[in-house]
């Protein structure tokens, strides 16, 4: 990258390091941090939406509430990583199967043939003729959807608890004023539930941050992939920057990245919490009021 990097073998110390850390592959490594942040930015609202739907369903009438409660219950008993591995294949097969049914109605062979999953060529996702970026984009899309489903279940759990924490009197008052069920839900319950949901949601945000390295298991070229790739022993035949096994240091860097990210999130969430509790009829809100009055 720098002009003095033309002959790395002649460099040493800081100059060597500055050249080493700006090679093309390292740039891809830094870009992968962007992938992680992008995943978080897309997944968090999507998971919240899934969670909201799940929590609303769990409050509904009998058959719908079973669906909602079942969705919430899956996060309790089974490791989330098992869901990640499961959903990535299952979603892919589901999409391909649906396309298969739509695009090739005349296909008469079974889909599961022995140890293979075979759909007609037009239904393949992505198409074998598609460019590279479509393949990568599809992998990322599957990862986002998987994250949203799994963390949506966590979020549904939190929101369901928050909806039940809103004081009963608020709902009764709304009913006394003649608000319909929909109005009570959207105008009274939903605006008030956030303050009860926030501790759970901030916990969930932390969990979501810490789940991002699992992208690696879903086959996305993320920071874990690059750390393993770049850190491994390099011999002079293949690179201008030979070095020993540095994977430990790369993972140390990732560890520090996550610690800083968590700490910053903590500080931001504390401020949001302080903002939201302002004037609320909770213990924390009362404490704020007293502190301001004193």
């Amino acid at each position: 990258m720098f002009s003095f990097c033309t002959d790395p073998a002649a460099l040493d110390g800081l100059a060597w390091l500055s050249c080493y850390l700006t090679t093309g592959k390292h740039m891809a490594f830094y870009g992968a941090f962007g992938t992680v942040l992008l995943l978080l930015a897309i997944t968090a609202p999507l998971a919240l939406a899934f969670g909201f739907a799940g929590a609303s369903a769990a409050r509904g009438p009998a058959p719908v509430s079973w669906l909602g409660k079942g969705y919430i219950a899956i996060v309790r008993g089974v490791p989330d990583i098992a869901f990640f591995l499961f959903f990535v294949i299952a979603l892919d097969q589901m999409f391909e199967w649906v396309r298969h049914e739509v695009k090739c109605p005349g296909w008469d062979q079974p889909i599961y043939q022995g140890n293979d999953f075979i759909v007609c060529p037009e239904a393949k996702l992505p198409l074998s003729t598609a460019p590279q970026w479509v393949h990568e984009g599809y992998g990322f899309f599957l990862a986002v959807l998987t994250f949203a489903i799994v963390f949506g279940a966590f979020a549904a759990n939190v929101l369901y608890g928050a909806m039940r924490a809103v004081p009963r009197a608020q709902i009764e008052t709304a009913e006394a004023y003649g608000l319909s069920q929909g109005q009570t839900f959207w105008r009274i319950l939903v605006p008030q539930m956030w303050v009860y949901a926030l501790p759970g949601l901030s916990n969930l945000w932390m969990v979501l941050i810490k789940a991002t390295p699992l992208l690696f298991l879903l086959g996305v070229e993320d920071i874990v992939y690059w750390a393993r790739e770049l850190g491994g022993t390099k011999t002079p035949q293949f690179t201008d920057y030979p070095h020993g096994d540095w994977r430990m240091w790369y993972f140390l860097a990732l560890l520090v990245f996550y610690l800083i990210f968590t700490r910053v999130s903590e500080l931001v969430l504390d401020r949001i919490m302080a903002r939201l509790t302002l004037g609320q009829a909770t213990a924390a809100g009362e404490r704020q009021r007293k502190a301001a009055a004193a």
Binding site: I72, P79, P199, L204, K210, L254
Partner: protein, 270 residues
């Protein structure tokens, strides 16, 4: 019965006993159930080792974080922050590669690069940090009256801690600690996906489940089997912790004893 042969061949496969080759084609349900169950041995091993050993460090860390002297408090706070603030997945990777480079210099570190010791150590520190935070929270909410009563009886120092502070702390922390135990067992599935090699295909339950899913391209059989095993383990944990909870609260009148009510809001995955 064919299935009995399969069980005889593969029930201890994850430990290296029995048939050496994994099934390669024509997978039967019996094979999948047996092998994934065999892998559960490792999950239970990691979970139990980490939980039992981590418990003691957690108590120490919690007391350390509540200490007045900054020389004890700061290290405890940092310990908890580092292990709770970073992904367990990255911790496994870092520890594995750290042990690898240590091994190249000192022979002693050879066993540390195997999962049975290396991963168990990471899980031990990890659960100690999470439980330490739980215990610390419980220490902070011990009723003032309990401590005053202890003072009035002339209890002090280690005696007071052992007879009053510690049991009360455990009582308050137990529901949250049950939660932590469940998630610790779930976290054990990460071990063989994070650097630590499954030598000779001796892996845990998820390792075998993903083996079958990769071979058959059908995720709808192995993963539900895995899920059922884990639900069973979760129920056993809840039952065992419930027994301990009853023992911790044995002095209370029957009506006041509450079972562990797992609060849905307090999820703590890593």
């Amino acid at each position: 019965m064919e299935c009995w042969d399969t069980i005889a061949d593969y029930a201890l496969r994850s430990l290296g006993y029995g048939e050496r080759l994994l099934p390669r084609s024509d997978f039967t349900l019996c094979q999948q159930v047996t092998l994934i169950g065999s892998g559960m041995i490792w999950n239970v091993y990691f979970g139990l080792v980490a939980l039992l050993s981590g418990f003691f460090l957690a108590t120490a860390v919690a007391v350390g974080k509540a200490a007045r002297s900054a020389w004890i408090r700061k290290p405890s706070e940092w310990f908890i922050f580092i292990f709770r603030g970073s992904p367990l997945f990255i911790q496994f990777f870092f520890a594995y590669f750290a042990f690898l480079s240590l091994r190249s210099q000192f022979e002693v570190f050879d066993p540390f690069t195997s999962a049975w010791l290396g991963a168990a150590i990471v899980l031990f520190f990890n659960t100690a940090a999470y439980s330490g935070e739980i215990f610390y929270g419980a220490l902070q909410s011990i009723p003032k009256g309990d401590m005053e009563a202890a003072d009035a009886y002339g209890l002090s120092g280690l005696h007071r801690f052992r007879r009053i502070t510690w049991p009360t702390m455990l009582r308050l922390a137990w529901p949250a600690y049950t939660n932590e135990a469940i998630f610790l067992f779930h976290a054990t599935t990460l071990v063989f996906f994070s650097g630590f090699p499954a030598r000779q295909q001796k892996g845990d339950a998820l390792y075998y489940a993903s083996y079958f899913a990769d071979k058959t391209f059908n995720p709808f059989v192995p993963y539900p089997i895995l899920a059922l095993y884990f639900i069973a383990v979760t129920l056993m944990i809840i039952a065992a912790m419930g027994l301990i909870n009853a023992r911790l609260n044995r002095h209370l009148p029957q009506a006041q004893r509450r079972g562990i009510r797992l609060r849905p809001g307090a999820l703590l995955a890593r």
